[in-house]
Subunit: 325 residues, 3 copies
């Protein structure tokens, strides 16, 4: 494909020769003739200077004496479009429901949905159209997936919420009568666990993306449009607003409300409601500007202790022993 065609497709400004033929995309260090590359991060400027790529997608403002550039206002999106154009999404080895998937006869599966072997879809579950369920994903009974939902391998949707009533030393299991309802265009990474609610449904709003090993508790409501990085744990009955971003290993306790557009930095431990658009970090999670000062002071604590010791020494009325030192 000609570079000029790619530039037109991804809506980028072409600076250089548009007739160059491009066959694939590669990282700056690996790219060679016939390959397009991408400057993703200021950390990689050195690789940019020395790349052998035929052309490079760059953000506005980046220049080069020697390289052909595709300059874009939203260079990451331009890169994504080029990836789809040149590499495309995965082609599945089969269409429809693989004979070794285990789909209950009372479940319904939408048109054009691909179900890999080892997948389980329980009674009365409803799966939309154009979905992909990767190998060994498990959808418990009654759960509902919208259209174009992608569930990666080993992920479990609709497992019983962790609900017990402890009475006379016995933990009595509470039937979990809700389901999990997943909106359109949701993608969930590998080996996640999304629990069903006891009374209300657990809801993952449209367009939300959840990375691997995430845990969503029973009766939580997430999204739409959230981005949730790996190993996050969200406890039961918490409500996460629209377009919330979470870094890896974040924990949120139960019965909280996380406002729309909030950002929770990686490893945050969230134990209170979070305001819309707030950015928090730390354990416990604090507004980010305050948290930064807290963590700077934290890492200098031994010095602070020494300073207090010095103040104490100076404040003491001189004793005989001290006089002699």
């Amino acid at each position: 494909m000609k570079l000029s065609e790619i530039a037109a497709h991804i809506n980028a400004e072409l600076i250089g020769d548009g007739a160059t033929e491009i066959h694939s995309i590669a990282a700056l260090e690996q790219a060679g003739p016939g390959q397009l590359s991408f400057l993703s991060n200021a950390k990689y400027l050195q690789e940019f200077e020395s790349t052998r790529a035929a052309a490079v997608i760059v953000p506005k403002g980046v220049e080069s004496d020697r390289l052909t550039l595709l300059r874009s206002k939203d260079s990451y999106y331009a890169f994504a479009q080029a990836m789809v154009l040149l590499h495309g999404h995965r082609r599945h080895p089969h269409v429809g429901i693989h004979p070794r998937a285990n789909v209950d006869p009372t479940a319904t599966i939408g048109e054009n949905t691909v179900i890999y072997p080892g997948v389980f879809v329980g009674p009365r579950a409803r799966i939309g159209r154009d979905c992909i369920l990767y190998p060994n994903a498990v959808i418990y009974d009654e759960c509902v997936l919208g259209d174009r939902v992608i569930i990666h391998a080993g992920t479990v949707i609709g497992v019983d919420g962790f609900g017990y009533a402890t009475h006379a030393g016995v933990h009595h299991k509470i039937p979990q009568a809700g389901n999990v309802t997943i909106g359109d265009d949701v993608e969930i990474g590998a080996n996640c666990t999304i629990a069903r609610g006891a009374l209300v449904n657990t809801v993952i709003g449209a367009g939300t993306k959840i990375d691997g090993l995430g845990m969503i508790g029973h009766g939580a409501t997430i999204g739409p449009g959230c981005m949730i990085v790996a190993q996050v744990g969200i406890a039961g009955s918490t409500t996460v607003g629209k377009y919330v971003t979470m870094g890896g290993q974040v924990a949120i306790t139960g019965h909280l409300t996380i406002g729309d557009g909030a950002t929770l930095a990686g490893r945050s431990a969230v134990m209170t409601d979070i305001e819309p658009k707030a950015t928090v970090m730390g354990m416990p999670a604090m507004p980010v500007s305050h948290a930064r000062r807290v963590y700077v002071a934290f890492s200098r604590l031994p010095e602070l202790v020494d300073r207090v010791k010095r103040l104490e020494r100076n404040a003491e009325p001189p004793s005989d022993g001290d006089d002699k030192d």
Copy 2:
């Protein structure tokens, strides 16, 4: 079912009309005529005031001018009983061992145990009666499950413990000759990993409940009667006593002893033995009353630094420059 019958069954005091017919249970906000609801948490008093439920299960002391109440000393247990009465536990789409489960011919399976498709039960494993093994659960060779054990989808029991002897730059695998032994009435959530011991068995005591994505290391002993929330990691050879409660993402290092009845708050990092009945939190885990003071001081660290600075400034002998300020 008549409300009076439900009240009798769950041993609750009926305040209002016992003749009302109830068909199901719903959350306060969603409940309507013919539905029973439940006040679980003081956070939901507003929903309680406005609910359209036919009746509400409440703890002792709660009153209402307008609602029919089922009042109980242990209202959460009363709710659990009502859920079992009205909704019941899951009805499985098949009985016994699904033809697509992979059960080794040398394994033994108790009566009335349900094994879903994709489950693997290895050589010489022994599964008790009335168990449920959900899709794609994996039981390695020699492991033993008691009666009424529930293993959710994707959970792996008896994987090799993480044991290597490093010699001359090579990590040599140590055969893990122990098994995992699970007591009666244990329930383990989805995608957990319970490692077998090298020499001794890993033991999960009767009635213990473990939420999703938990990791139990080789040779650990847990319970009986523990409640372990999601994403907990317990390292090898640690002994957890009876009726210990752990919040989500707790970590416990190896070779420790956690006393009976202890409570480990979510995200605690436990690096020392814990006394029976102690409640700890934090990283590192500290007794909770102390930890609360530590974390309050922590979140005010920038202010403390400023106070120390001020003390230092005041303690300084006045210099010419300072005099002029």
Copy 3:
């Protein structure tokens, strides 16, 4: 097997009667006649004093009046060798590819590799020889495993990296065109998730061992020779050097470099590059000697606040009210 033969095989010094017959290995507390045991940790000296084992493998320097000893410079390695000698590694219930494994016809599988039921191996994946893929492990398309690789149950190799370009409120999926390439002698525990790269491959170097529930992000490079304990999360594009050791629940953010031979203590939150051979701990991760002082000061914060309060009180000019106290 005679003790003298075992001593010769594991290259240990025999102190006592070499003619004793040994049939197996057991922990100090459980061991009886005919059993060899092992002193692994100074914590277990009491069990060592009272063991009924026929003989005990011990490090240099350990003596006993009553026990037959196998003394070794590297006693843990000696124990590992004895375990292999007396117990051996798992014998698999079948050879080759189980008929209920799902191996794409375009995948290649090396000689003598054991593939359990429920395993999925995608298009064009290449698996080396003498590998073991335990039940329900999933290898996505194009991934490459070396020889003698062990993948435990439920682990997912090659899931799409968490890559989206957000444009006009929509998270657009970026095709992940790289693969996961795993070196020889790697072992990965149960229910891990190793994501494929977008442009470059995710690489797990030879001899690296990863415990259960670990998450490796897209485009990361690990090892060779690393030891990574359970529930670790390593974000995309991070490079981990040779022989790096990580405790449980460590988190590393993206685009970092962890030097050869570094040690990251359990629960460390690593947000900067780490020097070769450095040992770090804490959140944020700090050099261990500094971190220890920080955490000691942290756990004494309430006391420090009191000391500052006292200094402030003493520094105040005496007021009328104070005079009267």
